[in-house]
Amino acid sequence: MMNSIKQQLMNLFKKQSDLTTILLFAAGVLTMPIWLDPIGANYPDLLQKFVIFGIFAVGYNILFGLTGYLSFGHAVFLGVGSYTAVWSFKLFTMNVLPAMLFATLISGLIAAAIGFVSMRRSGIYFSILTLAFAQMFYNLAYSVLIPITNGETGLQLRMHDIRIIDNYFSDPAPGLPSTELFGMSMNGYSGFYFCAVVLILAFYVAMKIFRSPFGMKLKAIKSNQHRMRYTGSDTRPYLITAFIISGMFAGLAGALLAVTDPLAGAERMQWTASGEVILMTILGGVGTLFGPLLGVGIIKYLENIFSTINESVLQQFFSFLPQWGENFMVAIVSPFVGDGWHLTLGILFMIIIIFLPGGLMEGFQKIKKRYLTKGVKDSESTTKQE
């Protein structure tokens, strides 16, 4: 009797924690324009990048974080998603929903194909296979697939695209059409809020996967796949499913990139883009829910804000110092900003890997632990005194 009540309470608590997590998360994401303002990151394009790459990283984490399979070619799905979305804008309608649907489905199909082959191997062989696929897609986009991808110039909207559905309802307006959701423009802040809502939904799905029996299976595969096999459970279908799901997340993110800016270029599929999402995930914390999002925030912030700090900005920043001190500080700091933002990222990455192998989330947990244990010790010492 007692046990069952306890169980129920536990369940309720757990459910509530899921609900509070998602509510807190939603609040945090939707208020980004407010709390990112002081650090100069409050403008639509960067906000959109934060949430879109957030979706990408959350999806990647389902594969890498849960199963431990390090895919080195996830940017393929980002690119496929973008190309599909732009084609949907060109052929059917400027409405974003069909574009997102097609992008998710097609990247899911391609993920199934790549996953089917790559998942025959694990560890470094799996990574190399995915890398090979990614490189293959990238090179295809620049050669045989140029009729579809428009090569280096990138796939763009044109004034005389077919757009069957839109043109069926109304005559085309002068100038290039812009992407919309039933009349709501996807430029600027409305585009950000739309992407933010999609991120919140994606995060909710990811959270559900993390806490489902399916997620548990994936974690079990990560901890010891051989033991899983010996107990008679076939791991391959689970792995392929995880691969497809994360591929679809990436496709969705790719579609949103095209939604906020209807242009698709193959550089999105380059191996550096695949590397970036790995960096994001590791920087934030592999296998944690929030970690990858933190990683996204840091990398995109460095890329967009740090890279624009030039010497004149630094001179202003250090203008409170005497002239020689100003020059000295500018000389020291300038290699790490502007073009040198990669250097800063590299150093940050090294520091985190060496001291916090579990990423920033491990850092937070360490702080939390220290704070909490300190609290316990304090109370112990006070009881002693008494």
């Binding site: 280096e152 919309e180 999105r268």
Partner: protein, 444 residues
């Protein structure tokens, strides 16, 4: 019955769409008649954005463009020796910024990638509030950001971009190009090639695989086939490939006697160097000396390619050794500031900045449709290229084009090009309608 049903369904759909589209019209109506993106209003400064490649195959050009932009801002604000503001005519600039507002600027790195360039341009427009942005070095990037300029209603003054598409099939009302294009390179090179290499040649193209390479290959092919040459092969190469040996080996046994390199920046330096190392220039094919042509190159590339470029023909928009008043003034001003002569990329970017500022002064406002009308059909002189016109139909500048050759005995590290011929405007002009495309609306 079914027809009737059809009509009602369609009407229903239209009505539904009209309702759905309402918020859009509503928000558009909020804007006052003459308000526009990033209106500086009563602010005492106005911001320009300079978006250039600081990394990648075109980084050298980007660095020089940035120097030119900074110099232009200085001169607009009345500092320095005023450079081309002494020779430009007609001119309304007063040396007190633009319309009395001090000019400030922000910079960005395009990384020679469309994605990165658009992200950087968006940052400039959304965060830094620029009224105009400029830059270039890759036509792919120029076309991508030009589309963005039209969407967001901010004028883009293209820097170095040489593809026919920029002011051809991808032209935009909000995009302007001072630089020449591949079509003009072809027209200018034709007669010189005929004189020097005759009418019976077999050409082999190596082409950078994007919009610029494609249109240059096409324009040069049209020219050479017009002379009676034949085209052996056209091979596309990836941008930033680094190693071109796999593409050059097949040239040796192809039977071609001319290699046309449609490459730019570091790509051209690499491919030309490798072509020379493979002994192409010492070869005899079909009883003729094997020749290499680089239809577009600059002094910056000549510095990188060194001896390999000696004697090679190409075209240029401008060269620092020109003797007219404008060129001398610009070289002096740039030289005093940085200690070396400017490249043609620098010249075009500097001129574009001044042209935009002047158009604002003429219009008396920053309101883009008015500024655009001032630039369209604007005729000017004293900027280093002789009498020049911004053609209204496609926003392309028409002026003379230089045919150049790598100098055999350079007297200094900057004295690398001989000007073979200054081709007058009339010989490179073409009909604006041949490339198709539409400029789009003034007001967005």
């Amino acid at each position: 019955m079914s027809e009737k049903y059809d009509i009602t369904r369609r009407q229903f759909a239209k009505a539904g769409l009209a309702v759905a589209a309402m918020p859009m019209f509503y928000t558009k109506g909020v804007w006052a008649a003459n308000d526009f993106t990033n209106n500086p209003g009563s602010s005492s400064t106005v911001t320009l954005g300079f978006n250039v490649p600081q990394t990648g195959a075109y980084a050298d050009e980007g660095a020089d463009e940035l120097r030119a932009f900074k110099l232009a801002v200085k001169h607009l604000n009345g500092q320095g020796d005023s450079g081309l503001m002494n020779t430009m005519k007609p001119m309304n600039l007063k040396g007190n910024g633009i319309l009395g507002k001090k000019v400030t600027y922000v910079t960005g790195d395009t990384q020679t990638k469309s994605d990165a360039a658009r992200a950087s341009a968006k940052r400039m427009i959304e965060k830094d509030g620029v009224v105009m942005f400029s830059g270039g070095s890759s036509s792919g990037v120029a076309i991508a950001v030009q589309g963005l300029a039209q969407e967001l209603g901010v004028i883009f003054m293209a820097g170095l971009t040489h593809s026919n598409d920029t002011t051809g099939k991808d032209k935009r009302r909000y995009g302007f190009r001072h630089f020449f294009n591949a079509k003009m390179s072809g027209s200018a090179l034709g007669p010189v090639l005929k004189d020097e290499m005759g009418t019976d040649r077999k050409a082999y193209h190596l082409t950078a695989d994007y919009t610029w390479g494609w249109t240059q290959e096409q324009s040069i092919q049209e020219t050479t086939e017009g002379l009676g040459w034949s085209t052996t092969a056209k091979v596309r190469t990836p941008v930033g490939a680094g190693d071109f040996s796999q593409f050059i080996t097949p040239v040796l046994n192809s039977g071609a006697d001319v290699l046309i390199l449609n490459h730019y920046g570091k790509d051209m330096i690499n491919s030309l160097t490798q072509a020379v190392q493979f002994g192409l220039r010492d070869k005899q094919v079909n009883g003729k000396n094997f020749e290499i042509i680089v239809p577009l190159y600059s002094r910056l590339m000549a510095q990188g390619a060194g001896k390999n470029l000696q004697g090679i023909l190409g075209t240029a928009n401008w060269d620092w050794q020109l003797e007219d008043e404008g060129s001398k003034a610009f070289v002096k001003s740039f030289g005093t500031e940085y200690g070396f002569p400017p490249s043609m990329a620098a010249q075009t970017c500097y001129v574009q900045t001044l042209l935009y500022a002047n158009a604002c002064e003429n219009a008396g406002t920053f309101y883009p449709p008015e500024v655009i009308r001032q630039l369209e059909g604007f005729e000017f002189d004293g900027m280093g290229n002789g009498p020049t016109e911004y053609r209204a139909e496609d926003h392309q500048c028409f002026k003379k084009v230089l045919v150049v050759r790598g100098k055999a005995n350079p007297s200094s590290q900057y004295d690398l090009l001989d000007i073979v011929k200054e081709v007058p405007r009339s010989e490179v002009e073409y009909d604006a309608s041949i490339f198709g495309g539409e400029l789009g609306p003034y007001k967005v």
